[in-house]
Assembly symmetry: C2
Homo-oligomer: 415 residues x 2
């Protein structure tokens, strides 16, 4: 039975009257996910031997403890000497590396602050914090369309080849935020090999979801550090990962993987700022996760909790929207987000309607540089945080809001 405008408005009104407060705005793990890592807090105690390759309690050791570097190196298929473990979050490392490139420059290169213009390529839709880092440091953003297998590489190659002020690109190569795209081998190879006018061009490879699978199949992207090396551009890429969504977002471990030369540059330029990260917490992480198989087993438990949420989002979107041509989406194979592409001109209105009904989703436009989605078409939702019964309600609200907005803008025939 087709819903009429009156039925939709009645449904919407009922939601509004329920005074809900449901948060699907950020990629936050839910309480059940956080519980998974509670045993970690018992692994280091007053009797734990902490005098290892250095005294983990003391100042010594800058780039992280050896066993944890080894674990991350195994996961990312690099050597431990290609790993720097710093602060508790990878965003800190991304921010600090851009900051240091601006102020001091990469080894032997002009600090970016001395240049008139610095530009970064930003695949869109993309991750808001990457764009905010650019904004913070006055870096001009060049949006490039995100495809199913990575950014539009013809465009990327053209931009980097012709303009020496293009100094970087942001990539979330696996289960991209927010589209869920997986970079193909060809995309990785082209990024590693492409000719860049700037010789201090850097790829910021935010491998945030490298072990965050949502299906049986554990997708992997080609090792870009090795590809860059093979292509004769060994220092082109900084790769990032963290345990924020493996253990505790507020008490995890952030890391950077790169060429030995880049890691030496990063270590040298970080020593004064942070003599050493929290090596005791690093040990806790190593003891919980142990090896890639341990990480895998732990991440399977996360998947069991959140995969049903992604299924539900997909199911309710179909229930609510099949038959009308207002929205497109794919059920992602990993990561933390659903990307919904609406008909142009709808996103802000849908976001507002959800908000008025007590459902917070990521503000429309957020996945574009300067918050500006020129088509006003993209919405990102983050289904992990709310309890599943709240998520169910929220998704029905979203469905109703999309249909009501469609009705208002495009008239009866769209629903």
């Amino acid at each position: 039975m087709r819903e009429t405008k009156e039925i939709l408005e009645e449904r919407y009104q009922k939601f509004v009257e329920a005074s809900l407060c449901i948060n699907m705005e950020r990629g936050w793990p839910c309480r059940e996910q956080l519980e998974l890592s509670m045993p970690m807090l018992d692994l280091v105690g007053s009797r734990t031997e902490l005098e290892r390759e250095v005294d983990y309690r003391g100042y010594a050791g800058t780039a992280g403890i050896e066993p944890l570097k080894k674990l991350f190196a195994d996961i990312l298929e690099v050597c431990p000497e290609e790993i720097y473990i710093g602060s508790t979050m990878s965003t800190t490392l991304m921010y600090d590396i851009v900051n240091k490139a601006v102020l001091f420059g990469f080894d032997g290169h002009e600090p970016w602050k001395n240049l008139n213009t610095v530009k970064f390529i930003c695949p869109v839709p993309g991750y808001e914090k990457h764009f905010k880092i650019c904004e913070t440091f006055g870096i001009e953003m060049l949006p490039v369309r995100m495809m199913d297998d990575g950014p539009d590489m013809d465009m990327v190659e053209r931009l980097v080849a012709e303009d020496a002020s293009v100094k970087g690109i942001w990539c979330v190569p696996l289960y991209s935020n927010p589209t869920g795209a997986i970079y193909s081998d060809e995309t990785v190879t082209r990024l590693a090999r492409m000719r860049t006018a700037a010789d201090d061009f850097r790829i910021f490879w935010d491998n945030a979801y490298c072990v965050h699978h949502l299906t049986e199949e554990k997708y992997q992207v080609k090792n870009i550090i090795r590809e860059c090396e093979k292509a004769g551009n060994p220092n082109r890429v900084f790769e990032f990962a963290s345990t924020s969504k493996i253990t505790f977002p507020g008490g995890g471990v952030g890391l950077c993987a790169s060429s030995k030369e880049n890691i030496a540059w990063l270590t040298k330029n970080s020593l004064l700022q942070l003599k050493s990260g929290d090596k005791i917490n690093q040990l806790r992480h190593f003891m919980l996760l142990k090896d890639p198989e341990g990480v895998d087993a732990h991440m399977n438990k996360h998947r069991e909790i959140i995969s049903p949420k992604f299924d539900m989002v997909d199911r309710i979107l179909h229930e609510e929207l099949d038959g009308c041509n207002l929205a497109e989406w794919d059920r992602p194979k990993g990561g933390y987000f659903f990307n919904i592409k609406l008909k142009n001109g709808m996103a802000h209105a849908v976001w507002q309607a959800c908000k008025d009904a007590g459902v917070a989703i990521t503000p429309a436009g957020s996945t574009f540089p300067y918050g500006n989605d020129p088509d006003d078409a993209y919405l990102r939702i983050a289904p992990t945080y709310p309890p599943i019964h709240e998520l169910e309600t929220a998704m029905h609200i979203l469905g109703v809001c999309i249909k009501l907005t469609g009705l208002r803008i495009f008239g009866e025939e769209c629903i």
Copy 2:
């Protein structure tokens, strides 16, 4: 009996032959001190309630957990809203604040990078890392003589009044590194009240040793945050402290205290860089230390361990050097260092002689900007880290090295 050149050389040769390796270079707590905080590692476990004012495991909360902010506020006699708890070390906060002043400027002020020159006043001898931060950001350093009650305030007042490019001063107000000086009330008041040509002048008040007493008397300096407020310069000071030498240097908590306006500026400019510090570790610290009395009791245990080391340094310096006029020193009342003022022209040679005998002390010159002690007279030693029997040997070596160097430079009559 007076020692002859031959006796001294023989003593020195014996030390060299013993192939020692003793480290008095850095202010590192010794193993026994680290053991004091091991019980902290049992305080948070898998059954600890972590969902408090926010979920301590999650992303929420930026400036630190409430109970720990309260504890630090009580110690520093400010309000919890005047506290920002960020990374694990206060050096990170100092570095980042200078970095942000350079790139973004303090609220409503020109970023320092847009100015031709930025200068900081550096009381000398002082703390090497402060000077390194200036060097990193291209800030010119103006050395000002350190007195027993703080820097030469006539000079400071003159410099800040006449030159708008003087933007800051580094201070370690209590048990100053390395001289052990304690800032007098008058010094604090003059710093708070002085007229500065720059209206974004800032005092970097590194209260690193605020609870690190080495005598029965617990010295305190006047509350500079309140003094600045009273003087109509509420945003003039950033105060720093940390638990690096209370609990674990590598796994502690760093904090900044300042006016609410400055804390708002710092929080706003840090949010993207570090969404939240490790709130679980903050809780561990709160549970160990509890309140100012708890901190006091804990610090008394530190004092019992290290105070005998300071006594021994003082005793052996007297044994070795009384009667010759080669060196002056004071047994400090708190903090981590002994400052030895030698006759001019001796410091590098003594440092090298110690090194050749297997004793590492802080490189001569380190306590001056650019490593340049114009009189080549100051040596800093850090007696806390080596075991007491090693410290005993090292101090005799130092004594012999001072006398041998004196002999070489000034001839027989100096010993």
